[in-house]
Symmetry: C2
Subunit: 376 residues, 2 copies
């Protein structure tokens, strides 16, 4: 895997820049559909030749149109992270959704989950007896709710120890739920975009242990699901049955630094206008935390204008980005539109209502970010 | 000014917790209107007794209803940070808006700015000759566009050196714009919520220099505008004529740490549900970067459940918050709803479509975040 140093400069010179459509009103999210198509095909090919199903996580793009293209490219279904996401995609006709979050089924969520369970093939994450007990109320004898047991492969987030998957699955079965397998999430890069590289094959090892534990309880293991774009190539092998990458559709600097994509694979940039050059050594652009989030660190920056060597978004306010320009590099003039490569694409899309979709600079449409927000 | 250490623990024990309305579906933004009312009254009283006008920055809340209450409490007008914000509030009847951003008037922005200038009393920020020249096209002889010259009081973001305000103002006047004064922004706390405290009286000093420079050019200085909640008490004095705080309406942990609000003045919390306790020493709650942003640092955390001593949101994924629980503190059970105090309120509100407004736990309404997004 390629690991790039964090220092500003020429490491990013090979990143292929988007052609910026004329007349863009910044800040605007530019999505090059040609790059997306290549990204979708590449991940689908990886899944196909590895003998696993691809179930993309739609949290990255929250776009019905993009989800449809993932299915058209061969995906077996989708993964969602909030109940609202599941609802938006189910309403748009997606009928096979894994809700990969240990939802607490209480109050208004009960009826919403029940409606979804009756309408589509819904699978839900479980990592505790308490949550399984709450969830069991929506299961029926003739239509049992399928659950996947979440196991921890080392990320330390959710998930029981893999060896405990059998006990939790047996408990879920006793409640009337239908445990069909296990899933895990590798948790790379969560602390910062510069954090450690992808886990080795912890995911596969964890899922093997979970499968053995469930089998020992007499449970037929039909699904072993692994996560994440950076680890897709490592985890797409038996006994894993499906992978759930999300970011691969768009990619970003974080994936590039991890070696999870190449320099021509970044489909999404944020168009920004230079609005001030009053302070030496920098220009101010009209993207801040409300367009980019605050993904990054002061050291590596919160995004880069990769067209300009060493141009790093070194600080962000809400509507102001401080684009530092090294000595010897010409500062862009006020009014110039620059393309900002974000560190992490998912929070960026969630901040916009629509994506400006182009093919090499020619606008081909505006796609709503259908499930933007929809947090609860 | 009170400065609190960053360590986890009892420093936050005096923060007054919200009563969480029954039946909340998390994540949900809880806004206690009683606390808001007290916050509005306090800042208005400060402005009144200091002889300055209050022009709140609506970027914090993006809520027409909250903006109306600020006017009702005595505010002279509002401040906005994006053209979209100006449009949303102008459409809702706000007729005196300072657009405190060095907008680049080109393309679609020209017509939009012109429409606003014809419809309301609009003032716009200028900090460069280039931007002034672009902006001049919307000014008319019989209705000249009022501009405020942005000067840098030390934040190093936008703004000409204060002594250069006269030259820029004279140039703007020669273009047909009407320079009416100067404004500045102190830029405290931009690097992290633990960054330095409020600037001393840099703002006032900078504006005095700017005023002298403009007067020397024969320009009548009618407005000297200072910014920010943490510096309001320092900058609300002659020759400053108006202050532009935003966060004071809601407050947050960042303001509390700076001593800019008291422990009973936090009006906004994010309700979160505990969804997993699989990993020792923490629980996972259903708020991540898509509900909170990533405002904070790994050291101080990205928010706190102040009801639990030392309970710090130590890591965030998009939908998962890692709430670390110190040894000896009982972990909340799965399904429990906890109130998270954010470090910075502005990005949080921008991630939600509505605010659940309550008065001490009794729901009194849901207010749309009218200008959510509206980035360009």
């Amino acid at each position: 895997m390629k690991r790039l140093p964090a220092a500003a400069g020429s490491e990013y010179a090979d990143i292929v820049l988007p052609r910026i459509p004329a007349g863009v009103t910044t800040p605007e999210v530019l999505l090059d559909i040609g790059v997306v198509e290549a990204n979708l095909a590449r991940m689908q090919a990886l899944a196909d030749r590895s003998g696993v199903r691809l179930r993309p996580h739609v949290k990255t793009h929250k776009s019905v149109e993009l989800g449809r293209r993932q299915l058209a490219a061969g995906a077996a279904g989708i993964t969602a992270g909030t109940l609202g996401e599941v609802e938006v995609f189910a309403a748009a006709g997606f009928d096979d959704i894994f809700f990969a979050f240990p939802v607490w089924a209480e109050g208004a969520r009960v009826g919403r989950l029940r409606s979804l369970h009756e309408a589509i093939r819904l699978r839900v994450a479980v990592d505790s007896r308490a949550a399984a007990e709450a969830l069991a109320v929506i299961s029926r004898v003739r239509r049992r709710l399928e659950v996947l047991i979440e196991v921890d492969c080392g990320a330390g987030r959710c998930g029981v120890p893999p060896a405990d998957a059998g006990g939790l699955a047996a408990h879920a079965r006793s409640l009337g739920l239908e445990p069909v397998g296990a899933f895990t999430y590798p948790g790379h890069g969560d602390r910062s975009p510069e954090a450690r590289g992808p886990a080795s094959d912890d995911e596969v090892a964890a899922l093997e242990i979970a499968a053995a534990a469930m089998t020992a309880e007499g449970i037929e293991v039909r699904e072993l699901s692994a996560g994440s774009t950076p680890t897709a190539a490592l985890s797409a092998r038996a006994p894993v049955t499906e992978i759930r990458p999300g970011e691969y559709a768009c990619n970003d600097l974080g994936k590039y630094r991890l070696g999870a994509c190449g320099p021509a694979d970044l489909a999404l940039f944020v168009a920004a206008t230079v609005v001030s050059d009053a302070v030496a050594g920098q220009v101010i652009v009209d993207v801040g935390t409300k367009a980019l989030g605050r993904e990054g660190t002061p050291e590596i920056g919160y995004g880069r204008a990769t067209a300009l060597p060493g141009a790093v978004l070194a600080r962000l306010n809400e509507y102001h980005g401080y684009l530092s320009i090294p000595d010897g590099v010409a500062r862009p003039r006020i009014g110039e539109v620059v393309a900002i490569a974000p560190n992490h694409v998912c929070p960026v899309i969630n901040l916009f209502d629509q994506l400006l979709v182009h093919r090499d600079g020619q606008v081909v449409g505006r796609w709503p970010v259908d499930a933007r927000g929809h947090l609860n």
